[in-house]
C-alpha cells in the first residue's frame, strides 16, 4: 500500500514543467461518489480513474479520514479487444488527472497494489516509476507492505 500526501497549499502552481511540453489524452471529471475521471485513448480504450473516499482506513483520525481517497485505475470500455496496446500517452494523462484532483486541498491518496492476479509487483514498479518521473516537492510517497 502506498500513501501520497500533498504538503503545499499552493500546489496548483507547482505542476511539473514536463506536463506543459508533452502530449496526453483529453479527460473529463465526472464526479459521482468515486470522483471519477475518464479519458479515451486513440485505440478506443476508455479508462476510468477514480479517487474513492476511503476514510475507513483512518477511522479514528477524522482530520485524515475525510481527505483520504483510494486511487483506482480501471478500464471502462475496450473496443480494441482483450489485448491492451502499449500507449506512451497514458502515464502523463494519469499524472495530469492526479494533479488535477490534488489542486483543491490537502489530500491523502492510497494506492493499493492489487494482488488478486499476482501482478502486485508489476503495479508497484509502474506506480513508483511514474512517481519518480512526475514528482514535485509537494508529494510524499510512503510504502507499506501488507502480508496475507
Amino acid at each position: 500500500m502506498k500513501i501520497k500526501k500533498r504538503h503545499s497549499p499552493n500546489f496548483a502552481n507547482k505542476t511539473p514543467v514536463v506536463e506543459h511540453q508533452s502530449l496526453s489524452y483529453n479527460f473529463v471529471f465526472a464526479g459521482s461518489s468515486s470522483n471519477s475521471y475518464f479519458f479515451e485513448t486513440r485505440h478506443g480504450v476508455v479508462y476510468e480513474v477514480k479517487f474513492k473516499p476511503s476514510g475507513y482506513i483512518f477511522e479514528n483520525l477524522p482530520a485524515l479520514s475525510e481527505n483520504t481517497f483510494e486511487f483506482v485505475i480501471e478500464i471502462a470500455e475496450n473496443r480494441s479487444g482483450n489485448q491492451l496496446p502499449t500507449d506512451g500517452l497514458i502515464p502523463l494523462t494519469i499524472a495530469r488527472i492526479f494533479f488535477d484532483f490534488f489542486r483543491e486541498k490537502e489530500k491523502l491518496v492510497v494506492y493499493i497494489c492489487d494482488s488478486s492476479d499476482a501482478r502486485q509487483a508489476v503495479r508497484y514498479r509502474k506506480f513508483s516509476a511514474w512517481y519518480e518521473h512526475y514528482q514535485t516537492d509537494n508529494l510524499l510517497k510512503i510504502d507499506i507492505r501488507l502480508s496475507a
Binding site: 502530449l23 473529463v28 477511522e59
Partner: protein, 53 residues
C-alpha cells in the same frame, strides 16, 4: 481514545481492507455516462483524443 472497528495490523487488516473494497465493479451512473458522452463529443469535434499542453 476511540476503539477501532477494524484489525490494527497484519493479515487480518489486509483481509479487512479487501473486504471494504468489494464494491468495485459498479455500472456507470448517469453523471458518469453524461461526462463520458461529453468527452467523446469534445474528442470528435477536435478530431483526436490527444491534446498538447
Amino acid at each position: 481514545m476511540k476503539i477501532l472497528s477494524h484489525p490494527r495490523r497484519g493479515t487480518a487488516l489486509f483481509r479487512w481492507i479487501l473486504e471494504q473494497r468489494k464494491d468495485e465493479q459498479k455500472p456507470l451512473d448517469e453523471n458518469q455516462k453524461e461526462a463520458l458522452a461529453k468527452l467523446r463529443e469534445q474528442n470528435a469535434r477536435r478530431g483526436t483524443p490527444v491534446i498538447k499542453l
